[in-house]
C-alpha cells in the first residue's frame, strides 16, 4: 500500500513543493474550526489569526471563508483547518470546533454539527434544540469586548483568546505573536487586553 501511494510529479519541477502526502489515517490531529457571525464582526480575521498561530506552531493550515456580496451585516462563515500533516481538501467538512456570535448564524449552522463538536456561543444566544453537541461553552464574548476591553470591535480577538483557552491549539506566546502580526499599528495594547480577557472567559 505504501508503495502504491507514492506521488509522482512529471515535468512539473516548479510544483514539487505542493505535492500532498497521503494522510496517515491513524492520527487524528486535524482540527476543523468554523467561526460564524455577522459580516463586520471580524470572524474572518479571527480565523486568519488562528491560521497564523498554527504556522507559528509549525503546523499546516488552510484558511478560507464564505460570505455574501455585502461587506457588513450579511451572514459570514470563516474556517481554518490546522493539521500536523499536509492538508488535502481545504474546506471544513465535519467541524471539530464551532463558534457562533449571532443567533442567525447559529440557527443556520447548528443542524450540521456532530455530538463531538466543541461549541462556543456568545451567551446572549439561545441554544437551539437541534444542537447535538456534548460540549457547549457559553461566554459573554460581545459584552466583554464592550465592557471590559472598551471596544465592541475587539470581540473577535476576545473570541480568539477564548478559543485557544478551550482548544490549546498553540502556546500563549505563539497566539500573542499571531494577534500582533494582524492588528493595525497603534491598537496593540487594546488587542492584547482583548486577548487576555478572552482567555480568562474560559475556566480552566
Amino acid at each position: 500500500m505504501s508503495e502504491a501511494k507514492k506521488t509522482t510529479t512529471k515535468k512539473a519541477a516548479a510544483t514539487k513543493a505542493t505535492t500532498v502526502k497521503v494522510a496517515d489515517a491513524n492520527k487524528k490531529t486535524k482540527m476543523e474550526i468554523r467561526l460564524t457571525g455577522s459580516g463586520g464582526q471580524g470572524v474572518i480575521l479571527a480565523t486568519i489569526i488562528l491560521a497564523e498561530a498554527g504556522i507559528e506552531a509549525g503546523k499546516h493550515v488552510a484558511q478560507s471563508q464564505a460570505y455574501g456580496p455585502e461587506a457588513r451585516g450579511g451572514s459570514c462563515k470563516a474556517e481554518v483547518i490546522i493539521d500536523e500533516k499536509p492538508i488535502g481538501f481545504t474546506k471544513v467538512e465535519k467541524p471539530t470546533f464551532f463558534m457562533a456570535l449571532t443567533q442567525k448564524a447559529l440557527n443556520q449552522y447548528a443542524p450540521g454539527l456532530s455530538k463531538s463538536c466543541i461549541v462556543l456561543l456568545d451567551d446572549t444566544l439561545e441554544t437551539p434544540e437541534c444542537l447535538l453537541s456534548n460540549k457547549v461553552y457559553k461566554a459573554p464574548i460581545l459584552e466583554s469586548a464592550v465592557k471590559e476591553v472598551g471596544k465592541a470591535m475587539t470581540a473577535n480577538i476576545v473570541a480568539v483568546g477564548a478559543i485557544n483557552a478551550i482548544l490549546n491549539l498553540v502556546s500563549d506566546e505563539e497566539l500573542h505573536r499571531a494577534v500582533m502580526s494582524h492588528v493595525p499599528k497603534g491598537t496593540e495594547e487594546l488587542n492584547e487586553k482583548a486577548l487576555q480577557v478572552g482567555m480568562k472567559l474560559i475556566k480552566k
Binding site: 512529471k10 505542493t18 488552510a62 492538508i87 488535502g88 467538512e93
Partner: protein, 376 residues
C-alpha cells in the same frame, strides 16, 4: 527557502509576479480577484513599478498590452465577467505577439452570476474566448505555494513565446490562505523576451530568424519606429492581404505553442501507477480529489489523480497513455463538463469516462467525488 508565511492565493499571484519581473498592473477590481489589484497597488510602487486602475476591463487589457509593448512585464486580473470583456484585446496580444499575463479568478456565471462563489466554467472561454485561430497557454494552480511558482512560469512562457498567458485560477485557491515558504530569488528561473538588435535585422520588426519561433522584440518608443497592428501583417509589421503571408503568420502563431508541447505542458499524476480509476481535475478541485482518492484507497479501491497544470495546451498525450492503463476515468470540475470534452476527445474508447460537476456555486466535496469513484 525562508520563513513560512501565511499567504492568500491572490496575494501569491502578486508576490510571484513581482519576483518574475512584473512592473506594471492595470486592472478593474472584481470579486474574487480584487485582492490582486489591492496588493499590486501596494507592492508595485515599492519596487519601482506602476499600478493603474482603469475605467473598465477593456481598457485594462489595452493598458497591459501597451505597457508590455513598451518593454515592461505587465499583468491584469479579473473574474469571468471581466475576462469576457478582455477577449477582444487578448486576441490583439496574440496576433501582435505582445507578452502579458491575464489572471482569471473564476466565479459562478453566466454573467455576474454568484460573485463570491467558486466555479471553473471558463475553461473553454480561456481557449476560444477570443475569435480566430490562435495559440493559448493557460495555467491553473491548486495551492497557494503552486500559485507563486506558476505565476512566475506564466511570465516566463509569455516572454519566451511572445504570447498572452492566461492564469486560470478559481475562488477556492484565490481566497485560500496557506503557509508558504518564499523561495530565494536566486533559485528562481527568470526568462526575458528576446530583444531586437535592429540594425542587424533589416529593420523588420516581425522578422523571425532561422530556427526561431518568435521575432525578437524592440521596446516600443525606444528609438526605432515600427508598426503594430491587429491585422494580418508581414515581417515589416504592416498590414497585408496576401493569403500566403497571412497563412504563414497564423500557422507560426499556432505552431509556436503546438510544436513545443514538451516544453510547455505540465501535469501531475498522483497514485496512478496501479490505479483502476483516475480522477481528472484541475485547480482547486484537486484538493477535494486528493482527499477522495486517499479515502478510496483506504476502502481498497485503487484510485489515482491526473491533474493538468497546463489546462491549455492540454496534456493529451499523457492522458491518452493513462487511459490505456486504467479501467475508468472520472472527470471532476466546477462546471457542467468543459474539460470533460477534451478528456473524451483524447481518451476515445480506451476506457469509460464519467463526470461529476458543480454548477450551483457550492464546492465539490471529497464524499461526492468518492461516491462517483465507487459507482462501479
Amino acid at each position: 527557502m525562508g520563513k513560512t508565511v501565511l499567504m492568500q492565493g491572490n496575494e501569491a499571484v502578486v508576490e510571484g509576479a513581482i519576483a518574475a519581473g512584473m512592473r506594471f498592473y492595470a486592472g478593474y477590481p472584481i470579486t474574487p480577484s480584487t485582492e490582486i489589484a489591492e496588493q499590486s497597488a501596494v507592492r508595485l510602487p515599492q519596487v519601482g513599478g506602476k499600478f493603474i486602475q482603469m475605467e473598465d476591463e477593456i481598457s485594462s487589457m489595452a493598458a497591459t498590452i501597451g505597457a508590455s509593448a513598451a518593454g515592461v512585464k505587465a499583468m491584469t486580473a479579473s473574474s469571468g465577467p471581466g475576462f469576457s470583456l478582455k477577449q477582444e484585446n487578448l486576441g490583439y496580444a496574440c496576433i501582435t505577439e505582445i507578452p502579458c499575463v491575464v489572471v482569471d479568478v473564476q466565479r459562478s456565471g453566466p454573467s455576474t452570476g454568484l460573485p463570491t462563489s467558486p466555479s471553473q466554467a471558463d475553461v473553454m472561454q480561456a481557449k476560444w474566448g477570443t475569435h480566430g485561430d490562435h495559440p493559448v497557454i493557460a495555467l491553473s494552480p491548486s495551492s497557494v505555494r503552486e500559485t507563486y511558482d506558476l505565476i512566475i512560469r506564466a511570465f516566463n512562457l509569455s516572454e519566451k513565446y511572445r504570447t498572452p498567458v492566461i492564469f486560470l485560477m478559481d475562488e477556492i485557491v484565490g481566497h485560500l490562505r496557506e503557509g508558504i515558504e518564499i523561495p530565494d530569488p536566486k533559485d528562481i528561473e527568470i526568462i526575458n523576451r528576446p530583444v531586437k538588435k535592429f540594425a542587424k535585422q533589416n529593420g523588420l520588426p516581425y522578422h523571425v530568424e532561422e530556427g526561431e519561433w518568435v521575432p525578437t522584440m524592440l521596446p516600443f518608443g525606444k528609438g526605432q519606429r515600427y508598426h503594430i497592428t491587429g491585422l494580418a501583417h508581414s515581417e515589416s509589421g504592416f498590414p497585408t492581404n496576401d493569403n500566403a503571408t497571412a497563412g504563414k503568420l497564423v500557422r507560426r502563431l499556432i505552431d509556436k505553442v503546438e510544436k513545443n508541447l514538451d516544453d510547455i505542458v505540465t501535469y501531475e499524476e498522483v497514485m496512478c501507477e496501479d490505479a483502476d480509476v483516475a480522477v481528472v481535475c484541475f485547480g482547486g478541485t484537486a484538493r477535494a480529489a486528493q482527499s477522495a482518492i486517499e479515502q478510496a484507497r483506504e476502502k481498497g479501491i485503487k484510485a489515482g489523480m491526473f491533474r493538468p497544470i497546463t489546462v491549455w495546451p492540454f496534456p493529451g498525450k499523457q492522458l491518452e497513455a493513462l487511459s490505456k492503463k486504467v479501467k475508468r476515468i472520472v472527470v471532476a470540475e466546477h462546471n457542467d463538463g468543459q474539460m470533460l470534452l477534451e478528456v473524451q476527445r483524447v481518451v476515445k474508447n480506451n476506457c469509460k469516462v464519467d463526470f461529476v460537476g458543480k454548477i450551483d456555486g457550492s464546492v465539490l466535496t471529497p464524499p461526492v467525488i468518492l461516491s462517483k469513484i465507487e459507482e462501479e
